[in-house]
């Protein structure tokens, strides 16, 4: 049992993460500071939330890129609606309205997939393009910096603050609590509920899942709903952290989130993936980002490095299989062949 952990994808990502941190810290000691840690976490928050929302869909064998458009529409539409009515209160109504919109949009994807038996990726590609267009055309084409008074302090609502010689006063943002809460909830959902196991079952073999009596359409609808919900939370959180609402927010980010999930051990073809792995994947991409900045390597390298690590990771299972084939054959013959 103990050795098994050492062979998991999660452990390898963890090792890379630790190794990378040590190297960067050696080059630039500023990396080992609470300020850097808090800053990295702050940058990761929305990616954590979106990745958790997308993970069940990936496990079920689907690839979606429309979640970023859902985040953009639900947050931007909510903001324009509230600000248009002169709303000056806190953040809660933002989350409530955006979540309702997000879940509805997720379910719409889900209905198209389950009712008309359409491929998940095709639907999401259409939704991705369509919803950004919708946002720009019907709601507004420019970023809006006009925040309600009650929400202005939110971007600097910290759990702890630290004074840092370089960064000044900074802290750990409260929304890290949602991240932890959502992560725990998703972990429980995927491991301890029948629906959650159904997600893995569908990813393993959809036909057999239907034959075994899993309510496949219902499971898919639920995880599309979850995806919409998480996208909305991420969209609103991002807007408050960056103090503006942007109609094309995240438009270039869907692949970063997919990359994080795959780094964390999920498979494109479905059936595999964990919350722990996904979290490590998100962190790894963020750390690579910051590492490049702190070590003075041009930011353009970030994509190259992430790409190389992805190739490495996707080839590990193939390499393992090849080696297994080779060794099994040689052991059969090895014992008698030497004259």
């Amino acid at each position: 049992m103990h050795y098994k952990i050492l062979k998991t994808n999660e452990f390898i990502v963890f090792l890379i993460l630790v190794g990378l941190s040590i190297v960067v810290g050696a080059v630039n000691p500023a990396f080992f500071s609470l300020a850097t840690l808090f800053d990295t976490l702050r940058g990761s928050i929305v990616y954590f939330i979106m990745a958790f929302g997308l993970l069940p869909l990936m496990i079920a064998g689907g690839i979606d890129i429309s979640f970023v458009a859902i985040a953009a529409v639900s947050s931007y539409a909510t903001h324009m609606f509230l600000i248009g009515r002169g709303y000056q209160g806190g953040v809660l109504p933002y989350f409530l309205i955006a979540c309702t919109i997000g879940v509805s949009m997720g379910l719409l994807n889900g209905l198209l997939v389950t009712r008309f038996n359409l491929p998940i990726f095709d639907v999401s590609l259409a939704a991705y393009t369509m919803w950004y267009g919708f946002n720009l055309f019907f709601i507004g084409a420019t970023a809006n910096f006009d925040l309600p008074r009650g929400t202005i302090g939110y971007y600097a609502r910290f759990l702890f603050t630290v004074k840092d010689p370089f960064a000044g006063t900074t802290g750990l943002h409260v929304s890290i609590i949602y991240v932890i809460g959502i992560g725990l909830l998703m972990w429980w959902f995927l491991k301890y509920t029948t629906i959650g196991r159904g997600v893995y079952a569908i990813g393993g073999n959809r036909e057999v899942a239907i034959r075994s009596g899993f309510p496949v359409s219902r499971v898919l609808l639920i995880i599309f709903g979850i995806m919409g919900l998480m996208s909305a939370i991420a969209g609103v959180t991002m807007a408050f952290l960056s103090r503006n609402f942007n109609p094309v927010i995240f438009i270039n980010q869907p692949l970063d989130v997919l990359a994080a999930i795959i780094l964390g051990g999920a498979s494109i073809t479905g059936g595999r993936g964990t919350v722990v792995g996904t979290s490590l994947g998100v962190l790894l991409i963020q750390v690579i980002n910051r590492a490049l900045i702190l070590t003075g390597i041009p930011v353009e390298w970030q994509r190259l490095v992430v790409g190389l690590i992805l190739i490495l990771f996707t080839s590990i299972p193939a390499l393992r299989e090849q080696r297994a084939k080779h060794t099994s054959h040689t052991t059969e013959i090895a014992q008698t062949d030497q004259p």
């Binding site: 029948t194 959650g196 196991r197 393993g204 057999v208 075994s212 059936g271 013959i333 008698t336």
Partner: protein, 505 residues
Amino acid sequence: MAEEVLRVENISKKFGGVTALNNVSMAVARGETCCLVGENGSGKSTMIKIISGVYTPDTGDIYINGHHYKKLTPIESIREGIQVIYQDFSLFPNLTVAENISINQQLANGKQLIRWKEINRIAEEGLARINVSLPLDAIVETLTTADRQLIAIVKAMLANARIIIMDEPTTALTQKEITSLFKIIDDLKNRGISTLFVSHKLNEVAEIADRTIIFRNGMKVMEQDAKGLDVKTMEYYMTGRKIDKEAISFSKVDAVSISLLRVENLNLKNCYFNINFDLKPGEVLGITGLLGSGRTELALSLFGLMLAESGKILVRGKEVKIHSPKDACDQGIAYVPEDRIREGLFLDQSINDNMVVSIIDRMAGRFGFLKEKQKRAEGKKWIQRLEIKTPSGVLAAKSLSGGNQQRVVLAKWMASNPKILILNGPTVGVDVGSKADIHNLIRSLANQGLGILLISDDIPELIQTCHRILLMRNGRIAKEFKREDITESQLYIELIGASANNGRA
């Protein structure tokens, strides 16, 4: 007969204009092992689907445990204790053994939350029932076919099966695994669980059956207690013709002329060692051995898919280097692979396209476009010559039965006009009738002067087609037999003996 669990009466089922089942009645008694035998397309699968509620029969009655059904739904069938183990076993490859075993109970009881202790307990108890132990936390895709089958059986038992229907259960199993499967079927019998064993491997049927039912063209042509039923009789009922093994005429080997293929001291580390043999025109040379004996690797090396490390290959007396399939083709060598579905056919392409693919450059016109007419003519020629049963060559290759697919693969290579043909397991998964046809074909090809290497572990096949048989063991040619000098049972002992001597002792 003991108490009947299942009886169907006067079942007929048509699909469009095709009659799949014609007025068939049969019954299965409690604790009985009943074998259902028939060629592809004889109606076996339709019957399984009717019993499991997937198809509704056009006419006829179904009685299960004394309850009468005109129409049977899958759920009703499962509630009555009918469990089908399909060839794919209906498992989740990405989940653990424990979860695969327990998941149906979890769903049947309508539980919303998972208790992993409960899952493991159910799995352990299930495995204990058939006295096997498997690691509960192993991922199913890492297990062997035999182990997956065990999981499927455990699942069926946990669903309170009274009849377990096994559809071609031994196709992917080794001899040893088949023996232990039969032990489990015996064990099921002692618990009063009946097995409906669907197969076309007749020697296995002869071994396991309490009673045998044979279908042909949608009708039941024979039903008999297994005692005194021999393979020959079964073959006769299955195919409707006598397959006469005595009256086989073998081609004359041209022993005088130079060898078509000569292999000298061929070596490949961990695969085969010091291989020497000759293949004369008109000769069928069998190569046999257990899985892992190196026979497949040797064949692949002769076709350029693996490279030998040392030794010589001579074609018509001249030493040649075969580094790729193209080199092999240039020397007139053709290879028909073991797994025709994965390696030999484009299933979604037409039969014609499949047959001309190896001579595609001959079909091309001046600008590289294919000449449709010529392609069709070539396709027609081979469909006739190899008696491929299809209404048209433009249909997809997947529309054919296994035996006919195998002929398409053969046609593809024959079209390139080879001098040396390497066949790897040419009749694996093919029913008796098509098998005899393929054997005839092999003999007639040899008659035309081809040299044929036949790699197979089907002993009757070797005896009925080969002039000489080489037995490989751990990468070496251990023995050579002339067909006249050895019987089927002697060869069987030699083959299995090879494994007994080399067990992991």
